[in-house]
Amino acid sequence: MSSHAGAVSQLVDRLSQLPGIGRKSAERLAFHLLRVREDEALALSDAIRRVRTDVRYCAACFNLSEKELCQICADPNRDAARLCVVEQPRDLLSLEASGAYKGLYHVLLGRIAPLDGVTPDQLTIDALVERVRTGKFSEIIMATNPTVEGDGTSLYLSNQLSEFPVEITRLARGITAGSVLEYANREIIADALTGRQKL
């Protein structure tokens, strides 16, 4: 049973439902919010309210956006000939953080996982096919997670897109730069050999 006042207890309960936040962390956050200036604490609640009311999916790529088109789709300096397909908006953020890619994205909002009841029609695959059909892409980069389900999703997509004159590639996989072969897993070495590049 909680020994906190009703409002504090409610806040702790709410915070502890967030991913990665346990009861102790929730209490720390709650007491922090009670300690800081009122406007600072209320700014957090405003930010939560705004993100829930203003953020939606980009009409083109299904990234998170506050406008019809997200910043990436609306940017004329992006390479419109390349399209990178990712599972979730947070995967897009990881690729953007690398700074190595200047093309466009398409977010599937999941992966095909029939064991969990997730079928292709529940993802944004139809929109992707339509986008490729009507767009002028020369390369589609499959950046789904390197798991059995991620690979299965990429394979399904490549079958769906095979009728279009686009090059379909996927992210490289293999040995981490800076590591040594001696300690690399044999499956990782097999991946690296399969995906070897010309010098």
Partner: protein
């Protein structure tokens, strides 16, 4: 802290299911040779660095270390080293879905901590064939039939499953087809046939193939071979059954085995619609 209620344990395991527990942690369902099907919590499993090294992927074969907990507490997976990754998804959707089907089947066939070494060896062999160059449809059918045999659910083929009357070869040959009762679990004699609602008719050649698919394939007591992952056919000689499944008998046998399993499990598996409908649908 006392370790009276927990035990460290190392074994080889096949990953059957992954469920997100938190941002980086997973609840993993594993099939092991010596502890059967188990579920364990893998803290930080999604992190690349750490004791799991990204090894916990669906249908992967891993060498795991876990702390067995008592009571209803989940076992704790402390380490996992990848032995073999299932690569079906990189090559063929048919192979991927067949792998999913095997994982789903085992989740429903087996109870927690029910040790079944032969099922483990059979699964290794089936996954090796599916992930390699083995025929998908025949492998999955042979896997199902061997599972039925090993779990004591093999349908009767020589005596009526209702009255127990022995059905001689002569009698089987005189009728056009052989009647199998899905609910009864085997062949039905002419006298019992009118009272059965869920009958499937199989040709004589299909019944002969079914009998071959259900036959024992040898013992797997040699524990020295349990981690010989590159020689799965030596562990469980599943591939010796595959040429016996003919193109003509496959659809009827697949249909019967699917309906029979559905009746035993009391449910339709999610991956059943994805099974190959013909033996030619190899991919």
């Amino acid at each position: 802290m006392s370790t009276d209620t927990s035990r460290h344990h190392s074994t080889t395991a096949i990953v059957l299911r992954l469920v997100d527990f938190s941002e980086t942690s997973l609840v993993v369902t594993l099939l092991t040779r010596d502890r059967g099907r188990i579920s364990a919590l893998a803290k930080g499993a999604r992190r690349l660095k750490g004791p799991f090294e990204g090894s916990l992927d669906l249908l992967s074969v891993c060498r795991i270390t876990l702390i067995a907990k008592s009571g209803d507490t989940l076992d704790l997976l402390t380490e996992s080293k990848l032995r073999r990754r299932f690569r079906g998804g990189e090559r063929s959707l048919g192979r991927t879905y067949a792998g999913y089907y095997i994982a789903e089947t085992l989740r429903w066939w087996l109870d927690d901590s029910e040790r079944h070494e032969a099922i483990f060896d059979l699964t290794l062999a089936a996954l090796a064939l599916i992930d390699g160059r083995g025929p998908v449809a025949e492998t999955v059918l042979a896997f199902d039939c061997q599972c039925l045999r090993l779990l004591g659910h093999a349908p009767t083929t020589r005596s009526c499953c209702i009255c127990g009357m022995k059905i001689e070869h002569g009698e089987r040959e005189t009728s056009h087809n052989v009647a199998f009762s899905v609910d009864g679990g085997g062949v039905v004699c002419a006298a019992c046939r009118p009272r059965q609602a869920s009958l499937v008719m199989l040709s004589h050649s299909a019944v002969q193939t079914l009998e071959e698919l259900l036959q024992p394939l040898g013992e797997t007591d040699d524990t020295s071979r349990q981690v010989a992952l590159s020689e799965q056919d030596g562990v469980f000689p599943l591939s010796s059954l595959l040429p016996r499944v003919g193109e003509t008998s496959y659809p009827a046998l697949r249909g019967f085995v699917t309906r029979y399993m559905q009746s035993l499990m009391g449910r339709m598996l999610r991956m059943q619609p994805y099974l190959p409908t013909t033996i030619r649908s190899r991919s």
